[in-house]
Symmetry: C2
Subunit: 411 residues, 2 copies
């Protein structure tokens, strides 16, 4: 008898009707002879209502109390899903994070899972019951309720799958799976039957929001087989797994576009040790996450340092730069809010030369100017003008034959 | 430094504005130099919303899951109240029933408190913090969340006051305190400065819904001094305490009216042992609570048995009687849905003779016919026609000089 962990997000349980649908799907999986742990997020609008209530009281809620408040959202969902399963004649029982011993550190609103007790859930599974567990939440060593931050229910599900050595962790969402590109921008994008943890991680951190990066890392660390699929249809979705040989036959698995970037350039910075450290230490303490960094040394001993940040943070980042400009001796600070980042991802590019060249050529043929380049072992990213981001994405998708790649995977 | 437990019901925390008002009151009590445990119910409409959600899923929700669902209501309230206290510069921390070890039996939706751990709250009190605790809820021995049933937050507050030997338990509600009669029916009714546990218990069970009978019993058992007062003004309210000498100078402390009763009569039942037991056992198993019971034996060996039940349960009670009529050999079943019960309560009546006579005379002078009579040590109740209930109440109130009784208490 296999053990499957199923996770349903806020859209999947948005109202009573959808909760009944989820119950139907869970019951079907159960009747196929599987043991089941189900992880549920808060109903879509419930979280908004709770946040709104908090903000009617204060602009700066205490984080411990905020967790106390928000964690009720999942508790409501699990109880309702248990009731819905009972109406289908299934034995099911709901649990808070505290009740099944999901222990975290004490970092409220962004806690990390430290350990999971398996005893209580195992007892229910042995008794033939479906265990329904609140996603997104846990308790610290003093039994204060903590939450895991954005997308934390994914992490709860994967962590439970790891703790119970589940045969599969199904992440139900509102998309069919992972695509070679965003189908809203690239109509010929294909759904990938399979993707590696590393590729999904790169795609996720590049803005393809199918699954929380932290949850993918967790899955990779413990080798949890995961399937990303839609709660609204029966499409098998995309299997996320460790690298297998067939993946390497495909050079590039997918392309992604992040249109919410901005570029800042410090012009004419003296080229001496410690300058870069000083800049990015200060920007980091202002809670701005820097993405790409490029430094060029010019002939006269002065260098230009360029970096990208989320567009929402650009004012804060410029403020930090202005403050340290005199110390740095930089001549000028330039900001360009109109940039986009286009990336190609694939574990297959490790074994292939000429991938970067092919990408650059595709952009050149499309008449797109490249402003910055950054590479990792399985990813190449280029910063381009925001107005050409979508053209760039389509050009790269085509250049790597992603609309036809299915044949290669099967081959 | 005194320790005060304050309990605020659903109306007192119905919205953000009211939660801020409650925070103001709590902060004031704190700044007067008291340690504080605050017990809060769910926001008025929150419980209705949760119940509505459950009923969108099923007509018969599992009771464990129902408790899981409903207990989120108080958790929302305590978190919001903590936030509101923080904005006033107060140190406050919120807790679920589980977190502070409110242990109950496993009887979901109607659990009884078994024990309360004091360690966690004491630690916070010692650190100078206000402890805010979810009313209405606890956990059983397996950490399943339980709820205490209707008005359970009163019980939570009194139980906490008992566990911590609090100097006072203040029950905040939407009325000023306990009155000699319902002021909506008897305009000259007076607020009582003080009442005994037993009197309040009789008044509560008679339908004067200022405080849950179970909570009053708890207070009596542990000698918790309680004060019933309004969260909307500064009236000192009514002190509930053990009997003191001055109380006995007042024969009748208050009168009450229950207009939601119905009377059922089994006519011509053979007068043999076990008949009454058979009837009321069956009615009890149908979950109907019987109030007054009267049996008269007539000359021919047949008796009439009359009893009262809540009007909402009368159909169910008649159904039970119909089923056992043949077994009983009863000639006829009569039901009168148009009755009311009027009662006079007072610990002082123990030492006085003629109290019943005075009450009956008041009713006779008012032209009200008495259908049934029932007495306890500190209470006399009469069933009368529903259309005369209010007249009867006013007549008794006047007969016992309740509009003037303040002078006697002070004397």
């Amino acid at each position: 008898m296999a053990l499957i962990v199923q996770k349903f997000g806020g859209t999947s349980v948005a109202n009573a009707e959808r909760i009944k649908n989820v119950a139907g799907r869970v019951a079907r999986t159960r009747s196929e002879g599987n043991n089941l742990i189900v992880v549920v997020s808060a109903m879509g609008e419930m979280t908004d209502e709770l946040v709104d209530l908090a903000h009617q009281i204060t602009d700066a809620p205490d984080e411990r109390e905020y967790d106390m408040l928000l964690s009720t959202g999942e508790q409501i969902s699990v109880a309702l899903l248990a009731m819905a399963l009972h109406t289908l004649g299934q034995e099911a029982i709901s649990f808070t994070g505290a009740q099944v011993g999901i222990r975290t550190d004490g970092w409220h609103t962004k806690a990390r899972i430290v350990s999971i007790e398996t005893e209580r859930i195992q007892k229910e599974l042995n008794a033939g019951r479906i265990a329904i567990v609140c996603g997104f939440q846990g308790v610290d060593s003093e039994f204060n309720i903590t939450t895991l931050g954005r997308g934390g229910s994914d992490t709860s599900a994967v962590a439970l799958a790891a703790a119970f050595s589940a045969d599969l962790c199904e992440i139900y969402t509102d998309v069919d799976g992972v695509y070679t590109a965003d189908p809203r921008i690239v109509p010929e994008a294909r759904k990938l039957p399979m993707i590696s943890y590393d590729e999904l991680l790169e795609m996720a951190s590049l803005g393809a929001q199918v699954m929380q990066p932290r949850a993918v890392e967790f899955g990779k660390k413990y080798g949890v087989p995961m399937r990303i699929r839609s709660s609204f249809n029966d499409d098998p979705g995309t299997l996320v797994t460790k690298e297998v040989a067939s993946m390497e036959k495909v050079v590039v698995s997918g392309v992604s576009l992040n249109e919410k970037e901005a570029k800042i350039t410090l012009v004419g910075v003296p080229d001496k040790p410690g300058v870069a450290a000083q800049i990015f230490e200060k920007i980091g303490s202002a809670n701005v996450v820097v993405d790409m960094i490029i430094q060029n040394v010019s002939e006269n001993g002065l260098s230009d340092i360029s970096f990208t940040v989320p567009r929402d943070d650009v004012k804060r980042a410029i403020g930090v730069c202005e403050k340290i400009r005199a110390d740095l001796g930089a001549k000028q600070i330039r900001a360009d809010e109109k940039v986009a980042k286009v990336s190609a991802v694939g574990v297959g590019m490790r074994g292939h030369s000429g991938v970067a060249a092919k990408m650059f050529k595709a952009l050149a043929d499309e008449g797109v100017n490249i402003e910055m380049i950054s590479t990792s072992e399985i990813k190449i990213s280029c910063v381009v003008g925001a107005d050409r981001g979508r053209d760039a994405l389509r050009a790269i998708h085509k250049a790597f034959d992603l609309d036809k790649a299915a044949a290669m995977i099967e081959g």
